[in-house]
């Protein structure tokens, strides 16, 4: 059975239209269907003949890991979802994916877990069958659960040598006191090591979050909308709504600057993170889109501070800035790596002075317009495959469950003024709202410098 075949190869690449209808930035038609059990199905008509991306967006992530000792569990559970059901044990599930020639995987972030399958449109009914089955009737033995915990530990280990991981672990732990954003998505090492003992908890986790009201199905590409709705209703229709809502603690307001250091046990250049508590994602206010624009205008590759420190003085090898769209307040983080370790203090002073400056001075209006142009083109140029469109849409669906959010966000970007940028700098980039973490090479490291 060669489902895709050579015709598909010849036809699957097509255009990235300029802009959507009525001036909307998202250029593709959208279909939406809500089912009685709370499940939402979203379709995006993308011109990829014979091909469709099938995404299951679950609105659970590190954010809901409120129980003591359970950090990293949403990600761990993502792994368990590949361990099969009675109807399709893991090997059979995989045999189906192989037979349809799918590219399949999953990922977890602070706010969502996304399962994605890219395969032929003809295989959509089969995809729906195996996905509905595992989301409703996942079943694994204790032994399989324990084996998977080993793989997760391996996933932690593969990144453990990376100093950026060490820096972010410390940053999140320092900046948050009670909110689960305190830990990285992969979790604290001690919690990962304890995972094999949590079989019963895993059943509870599935029961709480793998429910239709937490899930949006997203199909992007070539599909028959009527047939899709029918197939989804048939396979997911009697999936029972849950009722669980995690009691996510609200992070109290920060009222004084925080600071921490990491001594890294291997050769590294110093890395500096200056982070500020930023607003939660919202399309009602311009704050979060405004900070996105700010990050590009004032800290992007052509900003005065980047030009000075990266290109002219060459004290650092990059500067990045920004906050992730998150359901609860994220961190707006300035990140840089210092090329000359003895310049660390000066770099820090320069960045803090720049934060002060942009809270007082208006951004250059040409740069503001160039930034808006850049953001729009970057967005449109990224929408060049069914998979990349699905990824973008999954991001917004996880935040609001509303496919129109993407258009609203870009309307807000368009509306951001230089005054907004200055006001937002003043409002959020304040010292009492700030956490600074510095990572430097431990004095005990042998050899290099």
């Amino acid at each position: 059975m060669n489902i895709l075949g050579s015709m598909l190869l010849m036809t699957m690449m097509v255009g990235v239209p300029q802009e959507g209808a009525e001036g909307k930035v998202f250029p593709f038609p959208i279909d939406v269907r809500d089912f009685d059990n709370g499940l939402r199905l979203v379709g995006v008509q993308f011109d990829s003949p014979g091909l469709a991306a099938y995404y299951t967006v679950v609105r659970v992530g590190a954010r809901q890991e409120v129980d003591e000792g359970k950090s990293g569990f949403a990600h761990f559970f993502e792994h368990m979802m590949f361990r099969g059901t009675e109807a399709f044990p893991a090997e059979e599930y995989n045999d189906v994916l192989r037979a349809i020639g799918a590219d399949s995987n999953a990922y977890t972030t602070s706010d969502r877990t996304v399962y994605h399958i890219l395969a032929s449109s003809r295989s959509l009914p089969r995809t729906i069958e195996i996905e509905a089955d595992r989301f409703r009737r996942l079943k694994y033995e204790k032994a399989e659960f324990q084996k998977e915990a080993g793989a997760v530990l391996g996933e932690y280990n593969k990144s453990a040598a990376n100093p950026f991981m060490g820096l972010f672990e410390k940053l999140q732990d320092t900046a948050y006191d009670v909110h689960p954003y305190q830990h990285m998505v992969i979790g604290f090492l001690k919690d990962i090591e304890a995972m094999p003992t949590l079989y019963d908890y895993s059943l509870e986790f599935f029961d709480h979050f793998y429910r239709p009201e937490y899930v949006t199905l997203l199909v992007v590409g070539d599909y028959d909308w009527a047939k899709l709705q029918k197939d989804v209703e048939e396979k997911y229709g009697d999936w029972k709504r849950g009722g669980y809502v995690a009691d996510i603690p609200e992070e109290p307001q920060q009222n004084k600057p925080r600071e921490a250091t990491v001594s890294w046990p291997a050769p590294t250049l110093p890395i500096l993170a200056i982070a500020y508590r930023a607003p939660a994602f919202s399309t009602d206010r311009i704050d979060m889109p405004g900070l996105d624009v700010l990050s590009q205008v004032h800290f992007g590759s052509t900003s005065p501070i980047s030009q000075e420190l990266v290109i002219e003085k060459q004290w650092v090898d990059f500067i990045s800035a920004g906050a992730t769209d998150q359901a609860d307040p994220p961190l707006f983080t300035l990140l840089t790596r210092v090329r000359e370790p003895d310049k660390l203090e000066e770099v820090r002073a320069k960045l803090l002075a720049e934060v002060e400056r942009i809270s007082e001075e208006l951004a250059d209006s040409d740069k503001l317009e160039a930034t808006k142009s850049r953001m729009k083109y970057q967005f449109l140029m990224g929408l060049d495959t069914a998979d990349s469109v699905a990824n973008t849409m999954a991001h917004y669906l996880s935040l609001t469950n509303d496919p129109e959010t993407v258009n609203r966000v870009y309307e807000l970007y368009d509306a951001v003024t230089a005054e907004d940028v200055r006001r937002l700098a003043k409002k959020y980039l304040r010292s009492e709202n700030r956490t600074i973490v510095t990572l430097t090479q431990s004095a005990e490291v042998k050899g290099e410098e």
């Binding site: 391996g154 160039a370 930034t371 140029m381």
Partner: protein, 498 residues
């Protein structure tokens, strides 16, 4: 001037062909419905041409073109010009070729092309850009590769050991002493001698206007010196002995990354490549549960995060499961990548990987497994070139290897392939014991001793609940006799030094 490439219309698959002498091919993929234009300019210039003692020269030269100013515009001005277009020019240097990749919206085609051509034809070789780019390479070698990414360190160490005395030996980014020795004059000379029109393959895809490709070609023909240079001579590095194990001693390596492999004498240009491709995907499909290694070592044993195998140079494209195009090589190797394992399981993992490879070599794939793989690869390979830019990359690679379009070639070959073809190819190319092995570890003495002595290496399960049949197989693996030829412990600081 004769056009050697087919000017493609939408829906027609391009097929570029090599030309002789100056007229290397041009690959065009015209797609009127697409508002983007992709540029992939492949220069037959790579790190295999770095002069001895100047390792890193090809990479640094490529950075000076992609991350430097031009005669007209400073680096800052180039960045300012590209910024509102969200466009860029990146260099992808590799061992045989260096590819300059750019993508612009059709709204910006002319201003983008003007910068793209300036960068490649009229770099200004500014001393400040030189310092910045040189530091970037040095920091990569000393602060990233040697200390921050044990998986990459394992892979690069494997090539460092496997290709001793060979132009593929050093990382594309060079060696520490090689990069330190580079001068701006070295870069200028290398550029002048190597960045010729005869060394260039032009790739364009998307919605370019009528006459644009001809204009681009003429412009580069005028703007670059003519002539082509010779590729580096590649000696034969095959050995015929046992395992040559190198333990890369790195303080702070809490888990052990392992890469092993041997050179193989085939590329996409060979008939046997295609059945071997099937055998390899069956053994170790990159980041999927289709592979035997992944299922046996990760899924059944929880040993680590992943276990894969390769029959050609494979660099993952971002967070996807697909490789980047345009890293072709005239000589390839077979390799197995075992992602970091707990140190106490390193010896077992090495044996385990070889055990499952041997099972493939000795028992082969069943008819049923073969049919499953054939179906899978027929469909899955179509996903490798989902957008025009990647497809252009694949077409350029097909031109490098002088084959038909790679993905189409796979389909054509699979149609008439049998399980016997696959099993014969696996036996012919993989029935070997002369592995180079690189293991990145902090505590090295006992590991070296155990491997040298072929000591029993029972797995230490981090989790309970292993299936009985797996435990039974463990008993065979833990005593698998490996023909050890050599075991060395080398401190990480000695790698990539000179």
């Amino acid at each position: 001037m004769r056009w050697l490439a087919l000017l493609m219309t939408f829906l027609v698959f391009a097929s570029g062909r090599h030309a002789v002498g100056e007229e290397r091919n041009t690959v065009l993929l015209k797609s009127p419905g697409n508002p983007l234009v992709s540029f992939r300019f492949v220069f037959h210039v790579g790190s295999s041409q770095d002069p001895p003692g100047k390792e890193g020269l090809a990479a640094l030269t490529s950075l000076m073109l992609s991350q430097g100013g031009t005669e007209e515009l400073s680096m800052t001005e180039v960045m300012e010009a590209l910024y509102p277009m969200a466009a860029g020019v990146s260099a992808q240097p590799d061992k045989e070729v260096t590819t300059f990749i750019g993508r612009a919206h059709r709204d910006h085609l002319e201003p983008f092309f003007s910068i793209f051509r300036e960068r490649l034809q009229k770099p200004c070789f500014d001393p400040a850009d030189f310092e910045r780019n040189k530091n970037q390479l040095l920091n990569f070698l000393t602060k990233s590769l040697r200390s921050a990414n044990d998986e990459e360190l394992g892979k690069q160490s494997l090539e460092w050991m496997m290709y001793e005395g060979h132009p593929y030996r050093h990382p594309v980014q060079g060696t520490v002493q090689g990069v330190e020795s580079l001068t701006l004059d070295d870069v200028k000379t290398f550029y002048r001698e190597r960045y010729t029109f005869g060394n260039l393959q032009i790739g364009l895809a998307g919605n370019f206007p009528e006459g644009f490709p001809e204009r681009v070609r003429e412009d580069f023909k005028k703007g670059l010196p003519s002539g082509a240079t010779k590729a580096a001579e590649l000696p034969n590095v095959a050995r015929d002995k046992g395992l040559d194990v190198t333990i890369v001693e790195r303080d702070g390596a809490d888990s052990t990354a392992i890469s092993l492999g041997f050179p193989i004498d085939l590329t996409r240009a060979d008939d046997d490549f295609y059945p071997l491709l099937v055998a390899n995907i069956y053994l170790g499909d990159h980041r999927s549960f289709n592979g035997v290694l992944m299922n046996e070592l990760r899924a059944k044993r929880g040993l680590n995060y992943g276990d894969y195998s390769y029959i050609e140079n494979f660099i993952q494209d971002g967070g996807s499961t697909f490789p980047v195009p345009n890293v072709p090589r005239r000589q390839q190797n077979f390799s197995i990548w075992i992602r970091p394992v707990a140190p106490e399981n390193a010896h077992f993992a090495l044996r385990g990987a070889i055990f499952y490879l041997r099972r493939l070599v000795e028992d082969g794939m069943s008819e049923e497994d073969f049919e499953g793989m054939r179906e899978y690869i027929m469909s899955y390979s179509k996903l490798w070139a989902q957008n025009l830019d990647r497809r252009l990359g694949y077409e350029l690679d097909s031109s490098f290897y002088q084959t038909g379009s790679y993905i189409q070639e796979i389909e054509n070959r699979l149609r008439s392939m049998t399980a016997a073809d696959v099993n014969r190819a696996a036996k012919k190319y993989l029935d070997r014991w002369d592995f180079d092995v690189a293991m990145v570890a902090s505590s090295t003495g006992p590991l070296a001793e155990a491997i040298r002595a072929n000591a029993k290496s029972p797995i230490t399960y981090q989790t309970p609940g292993t299936a009985e049949e797996v435990l039974a197989e463990d008993k065979v693996i833990e005593v698998l006799e490996l023909p050890i030829e050599n075991v060395r412990v080398i401190p990480v600081a000695e790698f990539f030094e000179k």
